[in-house]
């Protein structure tokens, strides 16, 4: 057990230094792009075209293959950011601060996607664009917290200080989000006895459920790809006057 722990620690320290991370990521990036495209396309085509039509909602339920994975991704990105924030604050690892900054816009955009697809899904099935459903409301609040994090980071000039400011905010966020979810769910039952809940998946037969899992996997891979690209850009921008950047990156002029 001790040996494995050292191996992880060395890998983590190695990732801590931007040049090594950059070299490692340019090796891994092509593979990541390839697998992401394959699984993402597979999941979506399977869900959108080949899964059976739902007897109640007809074909419009296929939006679930975009809405549910992006909602799940929005929340798990925030958990990822809280873990990065904790690492930045406790062990002062520079790269995990940059990881946090790189993940924030991706999380915000997937949460926005979940909100938009949720409201588009509501139009044909319930006739209204916006439905004060418990899960949609907590996704909306999660989007506000993402906006607060991005806004705070952009308002502080010294980038390493800004990283530690948003890591504090993400730790506060992760502590309060379960409370927000529970109180919004409770609020939902108080005002509307839950005749419907948007994302309680209609009775999902297995062959509807499998494409959903593949889509979720595809979305996670897409997050990994976008995160790596964002982080590479962040590392280059922050260390552009360092020697290793011109030697390793500008010379090959990717």
């Amino acid at each position: 057990m001790n040996k494995m722990w050292n191996y992880i620690k060395d890998w983590f320290i190695e990732m801590g230094s931007p040049p090594l991370f950059f070299k490692w990521s340019s090796k891994v990036l092509p593979w990541l792009i390839f697998t992401t495209i394959i699984i993402f396309a597979l999941g979506l085509t399977w869900g959108l075209f080949y899964s059976p039509t739902d007897y109640k909602q007809g074909d419009v339920y296929r939006i679930i293959y975009i809405h549910v994975p992006s909602a799940i991704l929005g929340q798990s990105i925030f958990m990822f950011m809280a873990v990065c924030g904790f690492i930045t604050m406790v062990w002062r690892v520079k790269i995990s601060g940059m990881l946090l900054k790189a993940a924030a816009p991706i999380g915000a955009s997937f949460t926005l996607l979940a909100l938009l697809t949720g409201s588009i899904w509501g139009k044909p099935t319930w006739g209204t664009w916006w439905v004060w459903d418990a899960r949609l409301t907590s996704t909306l609040i999660l989007f506000f917290i993402y906006a607060a994090i991005i806004g705070l980071h952009s308002s502080i000039d010294d980038k390493s200080k800004a990283d530690r400011a948003i890591s504090i905010l993400s730790i506060v966020g992760i502590a309060i989000i379960p409370i927000i979810k529970k109180s919004v769910d409770w609020w939902q039952t108080l005002h509307q006895p839950s005749t419907f809940s948007l994302t309680s998946a209609p009775s999902m037969t297995p062959d509807m459920y499998q494409p959903l899992l593949v889509c979720v996997l595809g979305f996670y891979l897409m997050f990994a790809l976008l995160l790596t690209m964002n982080l590479r850009a962040e590392v280059i921008v922050r260390e552009k006057n360092k020697s290793w950047v011109s030697k390793q990156y500008l010379s090959e002029d990717k």
Binding site: R62, M222, K240, K254
Partner: protein, 52 residues
């Protein structure tokens, strides 16, 4: 074959919603892919103008 494709496009009347969601997905992922590339291009341009 043709009949099947048009069914896919129309999805009994609700096709518009499903495809608009799909377009939103592509749009948002496109933005997320484009942002880092633009940043890297800016760094390249800066370093080129410096080296001249």
């Amino acid at each position: 074959m043709i009949e099947q494709i048009s069914a896919i496009i129309h999805m009994d009347g609700n096709g518009l919603y499903v495809w608009s969601c799909f377009l939103l997905l592509i749009l948002i992922i496109g933005i997320n892919i484009y942002m880092p590339i633009r940043k890297l291009k800016k760094v390249n341009k800066e370093s080129q103008s410096k080296t001249q």
